[in-house]
Amino acid sequence: MVPVSIDDSTNSDRGSQARAFADTIVPEERGVENRDLRGPASERMRQPAMRRRTPRISLIVVLPENHVVSPDRLAQGLRSHGNGDIDVVVACAGQPANLSALQRSVGDAQFLLAPAGTSIEDLRELAMRQAPGDIVTLLSGALLPATATDAELFMTS
């Protein structure tokens, strides 16, 4: 909490007090918000939770073991959920054979590699622990929209 100065007691009505109270807070929030939006997602995730004006949004894509997904399909699926400032976590059971290609297609995403055999539910829970968002959308890799290049299939380990 930001302390309220007792010197503001000259403003006797509650409305004035409230505005004075808000004035002490808002500049700090703006600073937090601007700083928050600059760095890449991985840096922002490490920052402690601070007051913001808008919710931070995270998207978790769950790729179960032996699931087939192409980098284009993954990138397009993420684009369909908005191009804004979204923290993306891709949770995989086992290491995908095309991990490098997937990482290149969604460069700003955090990849979470769980041991092979991890269940979808456990993957979702693990990814939720990593996602920094206030609003977290969970998406199954199987539900990503198909692309023209989808014929090229990649198998996870």
Binding site: R14, A18, A49, T54, S80, H81, D134
Partner: protein, 362 residues
């Protein structure tokens, strides 16, 4: 962006890890096809890992940070994100039956004039202790005997058209920081504005929450105080006669008459006849509550009805005291309001996340 689905199921939770998994599993086991609904869980600043547990099942998890804001606030935040034409609010401590969600959607589809509907408690509380069984049956009794008239749009499971929900100003998150009667207030507000709200006997849920005598006393006290302090007893009773407090307090006036008889008998009977006076009180209480006791006996047998008779009497006494206390508080200190800091934030329209509680529901 994801395509809209007919239904958005919104589950508010606070430290509900003990029951959340069963509640969400029951929703996913619904007869409704999975593509027909989205599941949104709104976590109200839990400290027990509820958001991570919710992520195992939900499409979207909303994390509210800071201090507890209440289920009304949490439901509103979920509704703001929801894309479905119909919103279903399910508490994190109930299990919907497989046919409940589909039944709600069908009811609203078939009756264009109906704006909201709510489900009833079934007879089987999952917790087996006496207090939980009693409280569940008390709800069931009120809801079944007054079905079709209820204007309760929250606990434990209710569906409403999204446009109606938003147009009515959503739940009153300003006054209802705790889980008590916010759905009744909203339902009454809807009916006052000409909207049609009905409960259905055929749509049922099972309660998961475990009650103790102590927690029941607190719940009955809170509800009773709130009824007279914030909502107004008579108007609310007309709108939502199925509420448990009305089931308890319906006999308050006759009970007062019995007390008068006992007081009169005290003047006639010799002082040593205390057991006789006690017997008069007990017989009078049982006679006054005969419909409820008969229902308990039918549902669980005569031993159960006998066992809960003192508990029922205790709840009635607490309810009566709570109603009186709320009435006094309304005149002495006024209606409930959030703390000064929240009021100050709201007054200047401070934009922050999570947002400051709004007064639009009033």
């Amino acid at each position: 962006m994801p395509s809209p689905r007919p239904l958005s199921v919104i589950v508010p939770v606070r430290n509900g890890k003990a029951t959340l998994s069963r509640a969400l599993t029951a929703i996913l086991a619904s007869e409704l096809p999975r593509d027909d609904y989205e599941l949104i869980v709104v976590d109200d600043a839990s400290s027990d890992g509820s958001p991570e547990l919710a992520a195992r099942y939900a499409d979207t998890v909303v994390r509210l940070t800071g201090r507890r804001a209440g289920p009304a606030y949490a439901r509103n935040r979920g509704a703001e994100l929801a894309l479905g034409e119909v919103l279903v609010f399910v508490d994190a401590d109930v299990m919907v039956r497989p046919e409940t969600l589909a039944g709600m959607l069908k009811l609203l589809s078939d009756h264009a004039g109906l704006d909201a509907t709510s489900a009833c408690h079934d007879q089987t509380a999952v917790a087996q202790n006496l207090a939980s069984q009693y409280w569940n049956l008390l709800h069931h009794f009120g809801e079944q005997t007054r079905a079709g008239t209820s204007g309760n749009v929250a606990s434990p499971c209710a569906a409403i058209r999204r446009r109606v929900f938003l147009a009515a100003g959503m739940y009153d998150e300003w006054r209802f920081e705790r889980a008590a009667l916010e759905g009744i207030e909203f339902g009454r507000r809807l009916e006052d504005s000409g909207r049609k709200v009905r409960s259905s006997r055929d749509l049922e849920i099972s309660a998961l929450k475990q009650w103790t005598v102590r927690s029941l006393c607190g719940e009955v006290w809170d509800r009773s105080v709130l009824l007279t302090r914030s909502l107004g007893y008579q108007r609310t009773r007309v709108a939502v006669p199925s509420e448990a407090v009305f089931t308890l307090s319906r006999v308050v006036a006759p009970a007062f008459a019995v007390l008068c008889v006992v007081a009169f008998s005290a003047a006639v009977l010799p002082p040593a006849n205390g057991p006789v006076k006690l017997a008069i009180v007990l017989v009078g209480s049982i006679v006054l509550n005969f419909p409820a006791h008969r229902f308990f006996a039918k549902a669980r047998g005569i031993p159960f009805a006998i066992a809960v008779a003192p508990l029922h009497l205790l709840m009635q006494a607490i309810s009566g005291l709570g109603l009186c206390a709320g009435w006094v508080m309304r005149d002495a200190v006024g209606d409930r309001e959030p703390d000064a800091a929240t009021q100050a934030y709201a007054e200047v329209g401070l934009e922050t996340w999570p947002p400051v509680p709004r007064t639009s529901g009033r």
